[in-house]
Symmetry: D2
Subunit: 471 residues, 4 copies
């Protein structure tokens, strides 16, 4: 007879190739803290409702605590024949406690157990990622403050468009990251619902108290339908999706800074510490960390694809396919956490080359739109004003000069309204100063927002550092 | 010179192949209602702050209203040379109003305009999908009520596991759909933020009032950073992700009902109206609607992939790549809306074959776990009880009988505790009646939840029907 | 009774919502040419083996030919109630011919019919794409010839690395595209296998001759297993994958040319004809075609995802989910065909700004690796040589000079071997001239390859233009 | 100064967080065999062309051989600070050999080195997968032979359609797998091209002989363009795509056998060795291996997505993002190899429940299409015949009888042609016997194909077993 926990009805041994193929201990060992915590809460509830005695409960809690310590210390033996972390911990408990250990799995199944463990893990991962997002937001605020006087060319289609303050640019990423925090917080509410007690799929005839377990483990609610609870992986999909959006935000920024680090742009100096060199070309200093952050977005998108394809077409309730949910969840959360950490290092260490940027601001007619808006202010319809300035640009470009360098005759040739006053509105600094709309790069507006964000993101007391690992 | 709106600086005509390649009117014409609504709100604000006169505003509003009516009536001429819906509408306005029409595009850009239009569209689509989800939930509640007495075999690994009430099964899908509603509602909050006024990327020097526009269009907030506002497509990603999860919920259910419709399962009769036949095999009645719902989940997952790959590695702010965002957004929302609609038709018309299901309930030892729990109640450790019942199952299976049909000797041979009392706990109806945990298939629990959901989902007054199309 | 072709066993009418949901005529009408061609070949075979008379065959061929002409002329009525293109054409034939028309569907099913039609479409699409790839390759060869004297900075990590000839750069894309042709050709062999005659899934008891049909339709082989033939969609997956790689090749190039078109790089002038402007910023000239080509790669990747997810977990043989295979196949092929067409327009019209490029070649120490190789030639181990040149670069960078501008003392301070000879090897033109390995940017090597490709890609006679549409 | 190989121009140390983030040794250590083999071939070529002496070459070969042995024995120290497998091996060589070791990296870069290593790995992986596919094909042939007399219901839309021989069913998978072999073989040709000698991106000025290296390493050709060679990852995309199609073939089959293993179908007995039980439900025997094979297809699809997204939008030539290519390549190949291996175990051990299958063959009117074809043979048009048989089916279904059990009156009521002869053509065995088309389930046809495949797949001599691991 098989020596598996479920071996009663089986006559043949599992094929060792099958054991290797079906095992999950090589990755779900990551859940050991969560599994022990959930088992302790479960055991206490069993004692509370009288399914085990208080003495048995104490033995179980003591045994689990020891096992957790052994795993944490790296001295616990793992064996693929024992399938998964749940079986490892329970078998170790039975080895220690005999029949008392055999009572722990009362009124639960691995189906609800693993769902519980994974939700606990994801909840912690979300908190760890949220802390790292805030860390990166703070790095952006410092970047904004550090470069408060720098004017950057703003781009659309990667063509120079209008000038923006570096601080305005930095705050754009603070906004994106804040939406990420919102998505993670919304996801966390749906993660933080207890499946334990759904048992295999239908609940149990034993008199359990799920509210108590939920309370002990910090869950906000108890899952209301056992079939749903044991099959639901929405929380995993949603967490990985939220991670994917974070990763894509970082990838867009990383792309931008790879460009800014080129000799051609020359906007940015990255510290040597976040660059690497070439094994063959002695002069190279490559923005590897930014490239890898960009590249790792592919991995997180793939983790999301993994889960979406995995659950496609599965009938209720638990199917073994779902064992494969853990790898992409772990990978997405850990990848995003490390990318956020490194992004904060890069942003904190980066220095804009203010002089080089300023020297190039005359290129690209960044003041053209402001001039057009001046004409609108003088009563010229926008489309007409747009066309007039377009003609000025064509003229200036053909002569290789800025708009401010056009002669009075050249101006007037385009439209009689274009008099000498035009020159006093041109030039990038004047263009920046002219902005006034809410959310624009107007200096006062940017200062106001920077102050508000700084207030909001500065912890009242010293912030606790984010945990070293996720979760 | 080019006759495009932006043609001032250009000397060559656009290549007609380029016009065909770059046009978006073939799909973004769907945004015409939103574009007109946003332009009317914009014009009123321009008048309010004095950038146009009240008379000009009235002309513009009148012109836009007429144009909208023409498009709705199908008499408005479209032309790929005019690129997109925005240019079509503005050009038609200028044709009507001349210089007054040329003033509408004051203090805005297509970048913020299209973002505004698309957010309005997505907001309406979310509302339409939400209404359809509720419609499907109500169909499930009616299904539950209609089959209140039916006991189904519950499955894990598609193997018979434990019995569940059909109503319990139906409520599992109500729960899944309710999470979908929660995700859509959370997404809607992030969708419902006004980008208009971000202009091209940096805001404007003109004295606009974005709060007024937001208020007129029903937005909850104004986007705070112009660079972010014009580049942000998180809302599209998030809406399509929420749709993908809906689609996958439906795909799992559809898979299940394709199985249940087989001759082998025979659980389900689908009305002829939602089936089709074969062009060659005269006897076929195929569950095509369920198959297509399952298949269309692939399309929505692909729409999500489309958006994720599209935004990967794009620097700030607007890039033309983003024009391609609309197709997957439209497709995902419309596909999911139609799948939900048809799913409700299928659920409403389906009839469980109660007699056939009941006749087969003796197969699969659906009462084995309940017996194990009885042994646990008598003090036998779970693992031991599991093994004892496993031996009973092996015995019964080898004899081709149910557990209840084992002899007293056979029971006692496995364990002395297994006496005649065992028989009085066996059988599927008794197994169902024994459940008691919160969220389980216990009849009282299921009744309680069914009543609560019915109360919750029955509108106080007659519900307004969902809109005919999404949005 | 239903009036569907398969209505014999049905008592209820199809729900009109179901008709709309399940129809495919809105997209599979694209297959009309293929469907008629396959039906004609099928009818001729039926006559040949005696299942219909020659006179019946002649009537059918005549009827189908007329129907094809009507569809091509746009005067054929489509109706969602008739489901798909196959039913439309057959019903029209029956309207014309009565019982003779009712004989066409002998010994076939829509399952093998649609697989045949789609394979014919894909085969033509592959040929159309192949012709466009060659067109783009020729544009690259002309680009290479046109810029034969231009030296570009080559990049790794987007940092200046070593100099490359513009022609060498162009040939890199010719190579990538040639691999694409190879993949398409391999795919075409697996596409070009006839499924017709597999009937529903098991073949037929009627005495058909599949070889004859294969021959008439230009198939290379007949599918050997009916269950496989009716369920196989490998050919669609493979064709769309090959398209996705083409799309990604184009996306990488498009990204590069978006960069090169920036004011900062300034390497490239794109003709106005492939650029567009801004509705608000008068000075903008945006590389929209390149951006859209980059963006459309996301769409093709999504089409592939669509198919991969669609077929996941489908049992044998045909399932209705497969109806959804056509949209991504059509979309991927058409998207890639149009991207290739436009890419050829862009490459043909682009002009490298040779003077600006040359003026910047001194930046980035593009000659450093060549100097290192000189030191290796003088017996210094590579790692040591790498480090020595690294020190020279650091010195030169701190002084803001090129390597050639270092003093003799500065050279010798790094290593005694570094004498005046160093200067005579430095400078980008000398670095280019020094290359010699096969496949390198050595001018003679590039000339040789350019000549070989030109020979290979120049048709003996005037090439026939690619078809206007795909297929 | 940094102690990295590329440290000459750097002044700051790499941040340890950066070292952890950028390292690849944790996964690219898998390439050690390939890296050593390629370095040995490279060193021999350097000696041949005179860039190092024969004595130096001998030392290098000896050193590399020892290092390879140490890694294989698990005694080689890895350190994330040394980045990747290339640097580990080279540094170990320099520790042993000093300046001689410093010469190995002459005329190569990590860019071409890693591309070479990965191609070698993929080539071996393809061969290992191909061997496993053949193993699975042979298992299917044995399955076919073992169940030669079994008739299965064939399905479309998962509804019973027409009867098929179990051997015919088995051969459908042999066909699918054979296409997989074809794709892998085509891919292998494009994999087997040597990039080494492309150096960083532009080739080298040193007199290397790439043909010799290609020959030594078994490459079919030398990559012709250095920019292309160092940036090309088509081979990785294509190999992973080919794996994804294999995985999806297996997933469809696994889905089918999960269904067949249900109590409801009951077609299949899987050996205990490939099933597992439940931790809570004592009676369960779950087809876990099939479920995991189905689930793991999601992982391979995700690996493909990973690569597609990774390369999207990367300009030439090497970018650090590409470091992330290895994980999905390794994972896809290894996952598919293990799924194939287990699939062969499952197919070899599975037994069709012939009696149960035969007992159910009367359900589903599997003979209806054959009857229709008889009517066609008697001159009734197909559409008419289809409708007549449809009416018979409706009649039989309403009475709960088979077609053969309809009375003569019932037959004649539908059509006068339907006389007593009808009965002698009905019944599933007669329906199977009636098939005759090429590729159909006609017994003689299936025998012929089975014999041909058996001949083709039986090795002349004893086959060498596939390698224990991939590659």
């Amino acid at each position: 007879m098989s020596n598996q926990a479920w071996g009663g009805r089986f006559t043949d041994e599992t094929d060792p190739r099958v054991a290797r193929f079906t095992e999950s201990i090589s990755f779900d060992h990551k859940l050991f803290e969560q599994d022990v915590a959930a088992s302790i809460a479960h055991a206490r509830m069993l004692a509370q409702v009288g399914l085990i005695t208080d003495a048995e409960c104490a033995q179980i809690v003591q045994g689990l605590t020891e096992i957790r310590a052994e795993i944490a210390a790296g001295v616990f033996p793992f064996d693929v024949a024992r399938e998964d972390i749940h079986m490892h911990i329970e078998a170790a408990l039975i080895e220690r406690l005999g029949d008392v250990g055999r009572k722990l799995h009362t009124a639960r199944s691995r189906n609800d157990q693993v769902a519980t463990d994974l939700r606990l893990w994801v909840r912690e991962a979300i908190d760890g990622i949220d802390a790292r997002i805030q860390g990166l937001q703070r790095a952006w605020l410092e970047f904004a403050a550090r470069h408060r006087e720098v004017i950057l060319p703003g781009y659309t289609h990667l063509q120079r468009a209008q000038p923006v303050l570096a601080a305005h640019y930095a705050l754009a990423y603070v906004e994106k990251l804040e939406r990420d925090r919102g998505r993670l917080a919304d996801c966390r509410r749906r993660v933080n619902v207890l499946p334990l007690g759904a048992a295999a799929l239908a609940g149990t005839s034993l008199p359990i108290d799920r509210e108590q377990v939920a309370c002990a483990l910090g869950f906000d609610a108890v899952a209301a339908n056992s079939l749903d609870a044991s099959s639901d992986r929405d929380f995993a999909l949603e967490a990985v999706f939220a991670c994917a959006v974070v990763a894509l935000h970082l990838a867009g920024w990383a792309e931008e800074w790879v460009l800014w680090s080129t000799q051609e742009f020359g906007f940015l100096s990255l510290p040597d510490a976040v660059c690497t060199g070439s094994s063959i070309m002695p002069q190279k200093k490559n923005p590897d960390v930014c490239e890898l952050i960009r590249g790792k977005s592919a991995r997180v998108v793939a983790d999301l694809t993994h889960l979406l394809v995995l659950v496609k077409g599965l009938p209720l309730a638990y199917n073994r396919d779902l064992q494969e949910d853990k790898r992409p969840v772990f990978d997405a959360c850990e990848t995003v956490a490390s990318c956020l950490e490194l992004a904060a290092v890069v942003v904190a260490g980066a220095r804009l080359n203010a002089a080089a940027i300023a020297a190039g601001l005359d290129r690209g007619f960044l003041d053209a739109t402001t001039l057009m808006e001046q004409l609108i202010g003088r009563g010229i319809p926008q489309r007409t004003a747009h066309e007039l300035v377009g003609k000025l640009v064509a003229r200036a470009e053909s002569r290789g000069v800025t708009l401010a360098e056009l002669t009075e005759d050249e101006l007037r040739a385009v439209h009689p309204e274009l008099g000498p006053w035009v020159r006093s509105t041109l030039g990038v600094p004047r263009a920046v100063a002219a902005f006034r709309s809410f959310g624009s790069t107007a200096p006062a507006e940017v200062d106001r927002q920077l102050a508000a964000w700084t207030e909001r993101l500065t912890p009242a007391s010293a912030p606790s550092p984010p945990p070293a690992t996720v979760p």
